[in-house]
């Protein structure tokens, strides 16, 4: 009887072994972990946007290309990893995190996160004097005065561009990028 129990125990262990093996390689949950996350994809997009936008020459002096982030610490971390050691328009990239709206200054791209959701008018007031490309994943960002707005359509990352806002800030957006936007406002 005890012998049979031992055999039963071992076969169960073998079965569990196969199950865990299949789980680790076939399980969608694990497969998903090898796929990039939404935040990583957005960060890659922001890095690419920089390549397709031209800043007015007087605002483009300085050693670094600065990307500022306000209102989303997770994004800041992911972006730092993604652009490590890279450059845009031949300038090495510098990431700046802003915790207070009033401190926002001296950046070429500004990513605005969910913490700013309720304070957009004040934020736009601060940035409209600077030639900053404003990017966000907040709903309706490009309908207000934001320039680029992320939108997930059927699980794929897309973006909308508010061309007027960008032009008002003196920024030139390449037609290649405009072609890929799902909406131009």
């Amino acid at each position: 009887m005890k012998c049979r129990l031992a055999i039963l125990f071992k076969s169960v262990l073998l079965i569990m072994c196969f199950v865990s093996a299949s789980l680790s390689y076939g399980n969608p949950a694990f497969a998903r972990e090898e796929q990039p996350s939404e935040t990583q994809v957005k960060a890659a997009f922001v890095y690419n946007f920089g390549k397709f936008v031209e800043w007015p020459p007087d605002r483009f002096v300085g050693k670094y290309f600065t990307i500022g982030i306000y209102g989303d610490d997770d994004f800041a971390q992911v972006l730092t990893e993604i652009v490590a050691g890279k450059s845009i328009h031949e300038k090495p990239i510098l990431i700046k995190r802003f915790s207070k709206m009033e401190d926002i200054a001296g950046c070429h791209i500004l990513f605005i996160g969910y913490s700013a959701k309720d304070h957009l008018p004040e934020l736009f007031n601060i940035v409209h004097k600077l030639s900053v490309l404003t990017v966000s994943d907040l709903q309706g960002f490009a309908d207000r005065s934001g320039m680029i707005n992320f939108k997930i359509v059927k699980n794929y990352m897309r973006f909308e561009i508010n061309l007027k806002a960008a032009q008002q800030a003196g920024l030139k957006i390449s037609s290649q990028l405009l072609k890929l936007a799902i909406a131009i406002k």
Partner: protein
């Protein structure tokens, strides 16, 4: 053979087993070793995937390639509400700020389907899809997970509960039964007030204001950081409100409301996966009260005017742990003490509550959430000889459990949600509240949902332990007569609700949200004669002898309600946002065959307004100013003789500097005054000015 270090899979090989040899040993070790290897490798692949290898590859990809990557949606915010299979309206922090409201009841006016009636300066009657009375017992109100309804009468003492509105993240208003997630007593709806985390309220905030009705008010908040990722905030607020009854100066003096509250919140991420939140408040309110009280001796009925002090405090702790991509667990406990003073009775309530929730990872297209809860209530009351609870003091134990399964029938298109809550309380025993919902999202711009639910309102002490005797007059000029109402309704009110809803978004400028409902509520309180005709008896104690007509509150009414709400949001230009809503509500009441309730049924049916409309306009003006206006129309309440009214609240704000804002607010601007809940107390026009400074 005994090889040290090898795990023996059997404790003692019995004599009937073949002797140990090398082959057998390998057969013993192999499965275990393989098992360990598999587990380890699955952990490795998890770790690898999480590394920055992916990030680096991403940066090399072109935009066209990036647009071909399928992203796993982690619903952070807005989409969450679009795909909720319930009639939900979210009031954001910006909505609150622009409305000029200074208390939660005022904020709720902008939600469709919510009937907010101001009784006087400090009392409110609020209901969702139901009848509003101060003792509305069918709306569950939560502030950061703590229920603020009092078990004494199962309603909310709005005059005792305050929140620093500037630090409110959002208020979710759900119309209809919440059933599974939120539990019993949510039969008409749920108001869920969520405050910002301490991380989002760093720095200082000072507000000062003064006005006509809002005589004077001030808030101070300071948020800071501690060592090791600890964020905290502390606040204090005080408000003094004038009475509303300007035409009756005597009554006006005893209609005031002074309230002070202090509180704190601390949040800390204990690890990458764990977070802990602790918060608490203490409040003290002085409320003016004006009521008539009956007694057995001359003068039998007198008006009592007094200022009563109520106070209370609470501490809440919540621990959350993220187990995976869409899997987490949360444990919460709180202690709440409310000492409430009123003319007809006083009550001291202590509540200890434990709540546990676990969301399992998605498996076989299902997301299962389940939870357990326990609440202990110690209720002490004291009353008058004509108004009291019997027994005066009592304790309650409430056990609850819930389970919910969200099945994705068609990927990203069709979800079926089935759930049930089971509760056990000392009064009614086991109560089961099942609900089923269907959510269909044909496109990312449109969603349909349907729901059938059963919800139960557990009787409160007021329903079956309270007795009130009211002086009715002198018979023959000398013998006093009283009407005595004894509440004997210990059966839970039972609601079956059928709901349908639809949401559509046109671009990002216009959205429309519709919901319709049909509900049957049985075991609704009815007023029955306790004695057969002539329904009266002579009582000799307490002296002098007097007539008493006794009534028992039983549960012999069935109520049928139906209606719907439509709300729309339109942003024609970037600086102007418009909102509109329309609510319709009809009620029919049926008496059971054996009911002796002699009240006028059509009167009872018209105790809630049939139509309510709101129209809001929010404009960003140049020079850092903004103007908001909220019109509302409330239909007549024939039962209380209250006519329909239009009202306008407006606010003009100016950001002098990025951190200093001045604002001027006018409330109830269209009339000198109008009645909302009682013709005796009309709500007047009011103005106030406010300055806010942040650093």
């Amino acid at each position: 053979m005994n090889i040290p270090g090898i795990v023996r899979l059997s404790v003692n090989p019995p004599k009937s087993c073949p002797p140990v040899n090398h082959r057998r040993l390998i057969l013993n070790i192999l499965p275990l070793a393989l098992f360990i290897l598999c587990m380890a490798s699955s952990v490795w692949s998890y770790e690898l995937a999480n590394g920055s290898q992916i990030g680096h590859d991403l940066a090399e990809m072109s935009i066209e390639d990036l647009m071909n990557i399928e992203v796993t949606l982690v619903s952070k915010e807005p989409n969450k509400y679009f795909e909720t299979p319930a009639a939900i309206y979210v009031i954001t922090n910006e909505d609150i700020r622009r409305s000029g409201a200074t208390s939660i009841p005022e904020v709720l006016r902008m939600a469709p389907g919510v009937d907010v009636e101001r009784i006087d300066s400090n009392k409110w009657a609020i209901s969702i899809r139901g009848t509003a009375s101060r003792l509305t017992r069918t709306v569950l109100v939560l502030i950061d997970g703590r229920s603020i309804y009092t078990p004494v009468f199962g309603g909310v003492y709005w005059e005792d509960n305050d929140v620093m509105l500037a630090d409110v993240e959002r208020i979710e208003v759900v119309r209809g039964p919440g059933g599974t997630y939120w539990g019993a007593n949510a039969i008409s709806g749920i108001v869920n007030v969520i405050t910002k985390s301490a991380k989002d309220t760093q720095g200082g905030l000072v507000t000062l204001g003064a006005g006509t009705l809002e005589r004077i008010f001030g808030n101070v908040r300071y948020g800071g950081k501690g060592a090791g990722g600890l964020y905290y905030r502390v606040y204090a607020k005080y408000s003094d409100r004038d009475g509303v009854n300007h035409s009756n100066p005597d009554r006006d003096k005893y209609d005031e409301w002074q309230m002070g509250q202090v509180g704190f919140r601390a949040d800390k991420d204990l690890s990458e996966k764990d977070s802990l939140t602790v918060h608490g408040d203490f409040h003290s309110a002085r409320i003016g009260l004006y009521d008539s009280v009956s007694s057995y001796t001359a003068p039998y009925s007198r008006v009592v005017k007094e200022k009563d002090d109520s106070y209370g405090g609470n501490v809440v702790a919540r621990w959350q742990r993220k187990l995976g991509e869409q899997s987490d667990l949360a444990f919460q406990m709180y202690y709440d003490k409310v000492n409430h003073r009123d003319i007809l009775y006083n009550s001291d309530t202590d509540i200890v509550d434990f709540d546990f929730q676990h969301r399992l990872p998605r498996i076989w297209r299902q997301q299962i959430t389940w939870g357990l809860g326990y609440r202990f209530i110690n209720s002490k009351t004291s009353g008058l000889d004509t108004s009291f609870f019997r027994p005066a003091d009592e304790t309650f134990n409430l056990f609850s459990a819930f389970i919910q399964d969200d099945v994705e029938l068609v990927k990203n298109r069709l979800h079926f949600i089935l759930g049930s809550k089971i509760e056990h309380n000392d009064v009614t025993g086991f109560v089961i509240q099942p609900n089923a919902r269907l959510l269909w999202t044909p496109t990312s711009e449109q969603t349909f949902w349907a729901s059938v639910s059963r919800a139960v309102r557990t009787p409160s002490r007021f329903d079956y332990e309270y007795q009130n005797t009211t002086f009715a007059g002198l018979v023959g000029g000398s013998v006093p007569a009283y009407a005595r109402v004894t509440y004997l309704n210990d059966k839970p009110q039972d609601l079956i609700a059928y709901e349908l809803g639809h949401r559509i978004i046109f671009g990002s400028k216009f959205s429309l949200d519709t919901a319709v409902h049909y509900d049957v509520i049985s075991e609704t309180p009815s007023m029955e004669y306790a004695l057969p005709a002539p329904h009266v008896f002579i009582e000799t104690t307490p002296a002098p002898p007097h007539y008493v007509v006794p009534f028992n509150v039983d549960h012999k009414l069935t109520v049928e309600t139906y209606g719907g709400e439509v709300s729309a949001e339109f942003r024609p230009v970037t600086w102007w946002r418009l909102t509109a809503s329309q609510s319709i509500f009809y009620m029919h009441i049926y008496k059971d065959a054996d009911s002796t309730d002699s009240r006028n049924i059509s009167n009872l049916e018209r105790v809630a307004p049939r139509l309510q409309s709101t129209l809001g306009s929010y404009m960003d003006l140049p020079a850092n100013m903004n103007l908001s206006a909220m019109f509302r129309y409330v239909d007549t309440i024939p039962t209380l003789n209250i006519p329909s009214y239009w009202s306008l609240d407006a606010r003009l704000a100016w950001k002098v500097k990025p951190n200093i804002e001045l604002s001027v607010v006018g409330q109830n601007l269209l009339d000198n005054e109008h009645a909302e809940n009682s013709v005796a107390n009309k709500i007047p026009r009011g103005f106030y000015a406010k300055a806010q400074w942040q650093w």
